[in-house]
Symmetry: C2
């Protein structure tokens, strides 16, 4: 063992015991203290763009559970928002954007505008870095170009991705221009987070699982590979985690070809296959079903044991296969952490477990 | 070559050239004659339960395109509806059911009631069989237990399958009773369709791609295997096609373990892997992206050529990876058929290509 933070040691290829753990959307609505901060801040975007609030909600789950990593509280859609696209959130419906309709909308997007607009995000990163315990790592993140483009073209979430796919299949040169802009913007956004203190970055391709292989390679794998190369050119020591959710068999291509340090597995990825096929190449992260965490009890214990039993022989970070659900009882997260750490103190990282005031 | 219908020859393991073709939801809203029948019939359920209408809309796409198979026009939710659950369709929102909430709702479901209620469906099967050309095969179908159970418990479609998974993870014995009832009901429903004239059956597990492997096996693979065994015990010569949409790597387990004759591939299944891993065991069917069909043009041609080029060395049926979309231009389907058949007459099966009156 080195004196590296456990999360970073796993990303560097070590098998770490007990396995480092964090949860996607660990700062979120399942925590009463988050709901209080959210109420105080106003809108969801106010929470993202006010550094004091973003720092506070990022720290809340660390206080309760002593996770091995903090992840910046933000949203993948701050990139198109920063580039100049209108963005708002409708309670219970998710994000809404004024959908791009053609060339002129593309031309209006501006990288320098984004640089300026996202300063509060980078301030939040610096604030979090200053506040987290020494053994805790700080993760920066962004959405992958395809997933972000999908929101930009559909104007929100989608069932069949008809508009995004119509651009890809019908006007691929125009779609490539949007993807190329997002490669630039995403690499820049991640680099700024790294400069501000992020020690690893994760790229979320939440809608990767909708393409024929040829198009998965062009619109998901290649853009993530390009961003990874750009980030590593500027910051060679920063590990990159890719999350091509739903990629199925094509997880193998990502693990072997994208140049990343880790892949985050969705819930459907078979554990034995991941151990045999992916772990020889990269660290794997995942992949408890958020509904198993919500269920708790013996089902949760069995699922945790199976994941750890199958994946802890190689580089491995425990996580969910998708974001934690708002109705998850917080005590189920405690049970999970105790199961992973064999009953050791869940707040051994030095942060008080007492709930702090909603903001500084 | 035998004198078997081309579709049945492929299911029996032969490589057939040109490949037999049909499309999921080939009878549907993209056809003006379907929209006219739908308007005349009243509700979507009226269309399903009035044999004359169900026969007519089933035949419509055969007249235009000369597909190698007809598929009964019906819905996977006629099974819970027949069992006694309230079902209705809201325009633009899809199916709604009065969700099951517990033991008493389960007890109220009745197999004999279903047998009685679904007589019009079996009459439609007999009517279609009498009307289709000799070279066209007739497919019967049903939803898989997990997918149908999900609708029964959520009361409609779902984003995260929270209720269904809560039953599976929290009260597995109760969930198993529902799945077992659906295994019985589905096997019975398929057998009745076979007795009425169906020459092959397809089981749709549209939501198969949401489980950890252990649960996929228990709630998707095992029930489909049990239904396949029951159908084959009564009708040994009837081929069974399974469609575990989103199963990813676990398509392999389905192809090797479920006892089926074919698997239907969703759009994300890599073609080379399917040829190498699945085709030695079963016929494969698929897997054009419905959005590529909607796009048309060079993208459609390239995708068709790639699928046929990779899969036509073994037993193969051309299809989509998911249902055809309502906005698909009907002339794109003509283009697809011409591409597959090298420009031969698309209505060589003897049905008039002229649009027939909406119902008999």
């Amino acid at each position: 063992m080195t004196d590296q933070k456990p999360f970073l040691a796993a990303l560097a290829g070590q098998s770490v015991s007990p396995p480092p753990v964090w949860l996607m959307r660990q700062a979120g609505r399942y925590l009463p203290e988050y709901r209080a901060s959210r109420k105080e801040a106003g809108s969801f975007l106010d929470l993202c763009y006010t550094p004091d609030f973003a720092v506070e909600v990022t720290l809340q789950p660390l206080r309760r559970y002593g996770f091995d990593a903090a992840i910046l509280f933000s949203d993948i859609l701050v990139v198109p928002h920063g580039l100049g696209q209108k963005l708002w959130f409708v309670e219970g419906e998710g994000p809404k954007l004024e959908a791009l309709t053609g060339e002129a909308d593309l031309e209006a997007l501006s990288l320098p505008r984004m640089e300026e607009a996202l300063q509060p995000v980078y301030q939040a990163v610096a604030g979090i870095k200053a506040a987290i315990p020494e053994s805790t790592a700080l993760i920066g993140f962004a959405g992958a170009p395809w997933t972000v483009a999908s929101y930009m073209l559909e104007g929100g979430s989608s069932k069949d991705f008809a508009t995004g796919k119509s651009w890809a299949y019908g006007t691929p040169e125009r779609f490539q221009r949007l993807i190329d802009l997002l490669i630039e913007a995403t690499a820049q956004h991640l680099s700024r987070q790294i400069v501000a203190g992020a020690e690893a970055v994760q790229i979320f391709d939440s809608w990767a699982g909708v393409w024929p292989e040829r198009h998965f390679r062009r619109w998901c794998l290649e853009p993530m590979k390009a961003i990874t190369a750009k980030v590593k050119a500027a910051h060679p020591d920063i590990p990159v985690i890719l999350f091509p959710r739903g990629a199925g068999l094509l997880y193998e291509a990502v693990a072997k070809e994208a140049g990343c340090d880790a892949v985050s597995l969705d819930t459907t990825v078979p554990l034995g296959w991941a151990a045999k096929t992916l772990q020889p190449h990269v660290c794997v992260q995942g992949n408890l079903d958020p509904l198993q965490l919500m269920a708790g009890g013996a089902e949760l214990d069995r699922a945790v044991d199976e994941i750890v039993g199958t994946l802890s022989g190689g580089p491995f970070v425990f996580n969910l296969g998708h974001g934690i659900l708002p109705k998850t009882p917080p005590e189920h997260v405690s049970r999970l952490i105790e199961r992973l750490r064999g009953g050791s103190n869940t707040a051994e990282n030095g942060l008080s477990t007492q709930s702090a005031p909603a903001t500084a």
